[in-house]
């Protein structure tokens, strides 16, 4: 009989250990010790404390959050202009100590943000270390408010500063140091390399993206304004996940940062979102928006989903699959020009909405037709003209109705790089251009 073993969800991200990879990101859900303890009771593996700074604490504004809804879906994207913690440092440190005392097996990471001076960073690192933190996360990502004061993203956008401050911290820190990166930069690999050069034990990303949520077209006032005026905020939530996945993968695959531990953040709502980050190289994941929408309880289905998937796949521990998909992400020039797929529509599943028809004919490659005989509405793909672009299958509302099938061309794989090296020779047409 096959022995049933419970998959081991425990993780070690940059030397920070937790019983599962699900951490609360540094944000309102980790504002206080009482909140974090409640989260830990639900089963969260770790929590990155809402960013600590120097006293006196910051002053926040009202309102603070904004959301983008899509159709009937609430909070597809989320925006905030909240700053770092507005509670005194001593209060946070005392509570941190209590949390660690009660939940010794969970990861408590102190997110930090102080001015770019060696002494400021030394002081705060020593304090959180004393409070029992398992690691620190340097907040070089916050894109609003703090960046105007020379902190947060203002540091993260200058690789030299990233390296310098990381070095300050490493001079004193006995606990692992994560550097949280901002996505508001042309190429995230540069600050990641700088963090590594400064001695960081790992990086966490992405922080929020600069955003303005909109304008109320009745009042002409920006949406989610503070007394009629709005400042740009930081954007997150389900809509940002693909941006985050790309940046995580860039760092995982960059020869200079390969192997640098990553804590993945950005739009994670479900267990499978989390698995995607892990497959692309993250060893822990951080969540915020989904928790702000539904509460700490979501960790129960995150954990169950991950465990169930690992069982189905036969994975005993996270290291069995972490990073497994990253090598499949390559530069465009390495894609096979001789690969061919075409669409086909299952007439039994088709409901005749003809959304694929108009999408293909107006905006893609004009290869879906409808035989209008006897009032038929069901379209079919003219496969000889199909370029395999996916558009029809993306807009089709019915699961499994339009499938993209590989057509064996019998041709040797050919990448753009090889083709260019061959003097633009060796390509055999696999689709009709029109």
């Amino acid at each position: 009989m096959k022995k049933k073993t419970k998959p081991d969800l425990s993780t070690d991200c940059a030397g920070i250990k937790s019983p599962n990879p699900f951490w609360l990101a540094s944000a309102p859900p980790t504002n206080s010790g009482a909140q974090i303890m409640r989260a830990f009771e639900y089963g969260w593996g770790g929590a990155v404390w809402k960013t600590l700074g120097e006293d006196p604490p910051v002053i926040n504004v009202t309102s603070r959050y904004g959301a983008m809804d899509l159709g009937g879906t609430k909070v597809a994207g989320f925006n905030n202009v909240e700053l770092i913690t507005d509670r005194p440092l001593s209060v946070n440190l005392k509570e941190m100590y209590e949390v660690k005392k009660r939940f010794g097996d969970r990861a408590v990471i102190a997110s930090l943000m102080v001015p770019c001076e060696r002494k400021s960073w030394h002081d705060i690192v020593l304090k959180v270390q004393d409070a029992g933190a398992d690691g620190v996360e340097l907040n070089f990502g916050c894109p609003h408010g703090m960046s105007e004061r020379g902190m947060g993203a203002a540091v993260g956008q200058v690789p030299d500063y990233v390296k310098m401050v990381t070095e300050f911290v490493k001079e004193k820190s006995k606990i692992p140091v994560l550097v949280k990166l901002t996505p508001n930069i042309a190429d995230v690999r540069f600050p990641a390399r700088a963090a590594k050069a400064g001695g960081a034990d790992g990086v966490s990303l992405i922080n929020t993206i600069n955003s303005l949520m909109g304008v109320d077209v009745e009042t002409l006032v920006p949406k989610f304004a503070v007394g009629g005026k709005a400042a740009h905020g930081g954007y997150c939530g389900p809509a940002v996940k693909p941006i985050a996945l790309n940046m995580v993968t860039q760092i995982a695959n960059d020869p200079e940062t390969k192997g640098l531990p990553i804590s993945g953040i950005g739009g994670i709502s479900t267990w499978s979102d989390a698995v995607e980050f892990l497959l692309l190289g993250a060893t822990s994941v951080q969540l915020c928006t989904a928790v702000m929408h539904h509460g700490y309880r979501i960790v129960e289905d995150l954990e169950a989903g991950l465990r169930g998937w690992m069982k189905r796949k036969g994975y005993a521990r996270l290291s069995d699959f972490v990073g497994a998909s990253a090598p499949s992400v390559v530069e465009w020039k390495h894609l096979n020009l001789h690969h061919k797929t075409v669409a086909s529509i299952d007439p039994d599943k088709c409901i005749g909405c003809d959304v694929c028809f108009i999408a293909c004919n107006d905006t893609a490659h004009q290869c879906i037709a409808i035989d209008r005989k006897k009032g038929n509405r069901k379209p079919h793909v003219v496969q000889s003209d199909c370029v395999g672009c996916n558009l029809c299958s993306l807009v089709c509302p019915v699961d499994g109705c339009i499938t993209m099938t590989e057509v064996k061309t019998g041709l040797k794989p050919l990448t753009w790089e090889q083709y260019a090296k061959n003097g633009m020779k060796g390509y055999t047409k696999v689709y009709e251009s029109h």
Partner: protein
Amino acid sequence: MPSRNERVWRDNFAELKGPLRREEARVEASRCLYCYDAPCVTACPTHIDIPRFIRQIAAADPLGSGETVLEANALGHSCARVCPVEVLCEGACVYHDWQEKPIQIARLQRFGTDAVHARGELPFEAGPDSGKRVAVVGAGPAGVACAAYLRRLGYATTIFDRRPLPGGLNTFGVAEYKMDRRTSLEELKLLFTLGASVKTGVEVDETLAAKLLRDFDAVFLGAGLAKTRALGIPGEDLPGVLDALSFIERVKARDASWIGSSTATVVIGGGNTAVDAATQSRRAGAQAVTLAYRRGPDAMSAYDFEVALARADGARVLLNAAPKRILGRGKVEGVEFARTRTARGKLVEERATFTVPCDRVIKAIGQEKDRSLPALFGAATNPDGTIRVDPRTLRTSAPKVFAGGDAVNGGKEVVNAAADGKRAAWGIHLALVPGARPGPEDAYWVSTIDGRVVAPVQERTGAR
């Protein structure tokens, strides 16, 4: 405490399908797949661009949505309430192929037209004065729709109706729980801001008909059907025997003495009016209501969902029962029926009879065609009494006279009448201005007469 009468109106005659709240509308609108060349649009006789108006609701533009509806269907506000959408737009929704509930098109349409009504301003205006006059006979859905589009084309339009209020069956014949009288009158009031003049309480006789033909450049006949057919059986004159339309009209007048005025009612007929009368009898307090039809269930012309409503309200459906006599001394006491069966396609009555006791009989076996009105205007009729028209323009055999609605189609829905009114308005315009092309203000609604031609897509001939 509300009176019994008020309670009955509040509880029994409340709207069956209420309005959607804003967030309900948004969620429902977001379900719409925005089909291309959508089957719901084809199914709608007025060819409202349904996916477009639903998308406008999803995009938080209810007024724009209402405009899309009212462009194609001047009576879109009442059609949203009275249309048998189960067999029209909602019945055609592709969600059925998915074994899912169709989009609630009617309630979304109402969301759009309610927004227009809340604003109290039509999204379009009367056209510049054409210098020509058109008379419309009948202020029912066909006539009112025709008048609205004639006003958009700039014709001085006068509507004549024999009843004290305009609206025809929308005002007098629609079951109150589908649409109340006030809603019908509000719709008309807004449409009449286009400037049609309305003369109610006017019976069109030979003299007036001659005057209309003389004084007006064209006449539209939209007077509907005549009185309910007679059963042709003994006892039909007894007190307590009513025709369905006057019964419904009395109920809609909300007369307190009408509530509970029958203990047992027999409704005779198998169409939607019969079923409406049965449902309303129950709701007005009759304890035993029998809907009697002389053929089997498959021959009933009433919609299944209407019959289901009557049954759910407690009406008994008695099939294969042919009325032979209405019994009673001085007043109705029962109806004697013969059992029927269908043998080789023919209805055969059995000899044995049975009696259903009752104190009221409602006749609902269809309305007669009004053959006299078309004759007054020189318009030829078909053998069945409907007015003969050119289907493209709805012009009758009399060159100045056009016709539409029940008098032409023999009795269909409000939306069919509204579509006819629209078609006839453009038909009249073409007759008075030969070769006319719609200007920018009219191009859209004119394009909906036959259904909009969608942009041609390059034909591809590749193998399947």
